[in-house]
Amino acid sequence: MPASALLIGASVASLNLCTDEYLLLLARPQEVASVSFLSQDRQESPLWRSARRFPANRGSIEDVLVRRPSVVLTMGGGGRATRLLASRLHIRPVELLSPLSLGDVAANLRTVAGVLGEPRRATPWLQELARLQRTSPTKAKDTLWLSGGGQSLTAGSIGAQWLRLAGLEQRPLPGGRASLETLLVRPPAVLVQSRYRSAQVSSGERWLDHPIVRNVRAQRMAADGRRWTCMGPLMIGEIERLRAAQR
């Protein structure tokens, strides 16, 4: 008997944009009790269409209680006692890792597939991740990943690890932020610019519209900023796209 058969009726509520990603990618519709409202926003998640099929929550266990989930997925949560509350309400709490490495992403995939009763559901994603790691270019180009206001990635962070799989080496920056002076004096070979909420007016977007940023002499690539919020399995497609853009 497959393990999933033992868990028929198991329903999972996700209380966080990043845990939503794993659930929406691995679960069957009948297994999803609720997802966070952020996932239903097209500007926050590429999975918004799929997410809108399910009841939304605001990250509180109270919001999902009427759906009577058997499992709640959480990640972080500041001062909240979600794990303890879920246990007291006879709901199994599962806390995913705030990913600091590609290994953490793989571990989260395995955890969620295990929660759904079918560990093999994670296999295609794990294989894709392993393939990307196996085929990672040996040489990497000097790169700056750039978001509103000059926000960038810390060298060695999970974002930089993903970027390296595309053959792009995030340059270390003081404070993880690029300055106009850096872009002018020492432009990178590749500039990966996030399109996160780029249609909205913000000081960060105004910074990106500065002539120095617009005219920086580098190969330019666009990043789907929504995928870089959680750095989860949706990054696999993003890295494929960045690889293709360099060919």
């Binding site: 605001r58 109270e62 009427v66 990640m75 972080g76 909240r80 006692a81 979600t82 309400l89 705030s98």
Partner: protein
Amino acid sequence: MTRPTALLLAALLLLAALHLLVPLGPWLELRRSDPGLASLLLTEIRLPRTLLAAGYGAVLGMTGAALQALFANPLASPDITGSSSGAALGAVLGAYWFAIVDPLALAAFGAGGAALALVALLLLAGRRSDTATLLLAGVAIALAAGAATSLLLALAPSPFAFYDSFEWLMGSFVDRSLPQAAAALVPAGLACAILVRRAHALDLMALGEDVSASLGYPPRRVAVEVVGLSAIAVGACVSVCGAIGFVGLIAPYAARRLSGGHPGRALVPAALVGAILVVLADLFVRSAPAGRIVPVGIVTTVVGTPLFIWLVVGMRRRLTS
């Protein structure tokens, strides 16, 4: 108990009951389908939230009144004096650098941060400082603590620390547990109970330090006690619910009108007014539109800022007239 105090208590109990039951729909739905779960919803999720909202509000009101009496200044309050910011700094240090999850240990970090901020205030401004010195010292400490908090979050091992802490530090009662409520409210309650016993000393200090000393209340000892007890109470609450501004300023102001200007007698009414204000603010937060999260601290700050400006303008007029 005076009549206004009894009325305040009645209003608080009514609001607390409302806070516990609203929104009614999910509870009624669960009562039909799963009565056991419906009662767990009330006892495990909503009761800690109501207790924390009322308790934290009471702490802010009472400590605000005590600090105003001590500094003989209506602008002294846990947030204006920097103790809330200090408590947030302590809580962030504990949570994101020492990976502390135990509510009591986190409350101790918060209390430590608040105590450091208040000691710094005493050193910087002195106990009987003029308004400008007190405000400047408080603002400086709050800014320094805020900057240190941001730095700790920016350098924290988890890259998600900033996002993770946003709602918490701006004030939130969402998904708090009974052990968390106990970790915040037991030390805070004990500290407030001792503060109430210092009400007479605070009244005497309003008559002058020599009067207070001659009647057996050395001003330095009273000051240390009030500062220490306020730090414990505010720090424990901030570490669980984040910083909530302006309640410690507004509540004592209203309460002094009920106590005939006696700073000591204003402690209990200030606690009741503070509790009512925070419960009301959290009720407002619950009615925010779907897909929007409004921290409680934002609501109290929006309401409190005009009063703060009004107080400052009033003081300026008195000084120049």
